[in-house]
Subunit: 121 residues, 2 copies
């Protein structure tokens, strides 16, 4: 696991690509990731792991197939259970912190042009 | 696991006690907790689990027995590995988000007057 202090605000300076989460910390087999999102992501689900979204700046809508959408604004968080199909949508750029198992692929069960290798900050 | 949106800023209105983390979300056997800290905590370690501190507001010093202290300001995070003795110190009130395994006791391996039952928000 990591042992260094990460300044989240500064870390975003190194995140240029949209929809490409970067690893800020690893602990207990989980990753804390940071991502910039804008536009409409692809529908997907994570078969094995729950995923938490914490909005740092902006507004994020998480759309679901089988339940009402969730709209998160700054300082709001929401967990999406394993197996639940969802699609993040950001009308304008939003900055999020993610908490999910190490090894989680951003597009979950599908491979699309938005599928991204997960790199460290 | 939980499926509700939590507004972190609002949630702090329900946290009156210092050093008593409250559970904001549960996922993958981990808890996301919120806590208000002020003063000097007790030295302790968590034998089994790593623990992450993310400072939302204020300044937190994490003192260690065997390595340099870490001072975290707003939007900074730091993971403390399992087994590493540490002591959070806040000269003034600080608000933090914690990531750690479900079941983690705030005072880790020791029971003191600061040991607190962990409740849900």
């Amino acid at each position: 696991m990591d042992e260094e202090t990460v300044d989240v605000s500064v870390a975003f300076d190194d995140i240029e690509e949209l929809w490409a989460p970067k690893i800020a910390a690893e602990l207990n087999g989980q990753h804390v990731k940071l991502a910039r999102l804008e536009g409409t992501f692809d529908w997907h689900r994570h078969e094995e792991g729950d995923e938490l979204f914490y909005v740092l700046d902006g507004e994020l809508r998480i759309e679901f197939r089988d339940r009402p959408d969730a709209t998160l604004t700054e300082n709001q968080l929401r967990a999406v259970p394993a197996g639940v199909e969802h699609r993040p949508v950001a009308e304008e750029e939003v900055r999020v912190m993610l908490f999910e198992p190490a090894g989680t692929r951003n597009t979950g069960n599908v491979e699309t042009e938005k599928t991204s290798e997960v790199e460290r900050l």
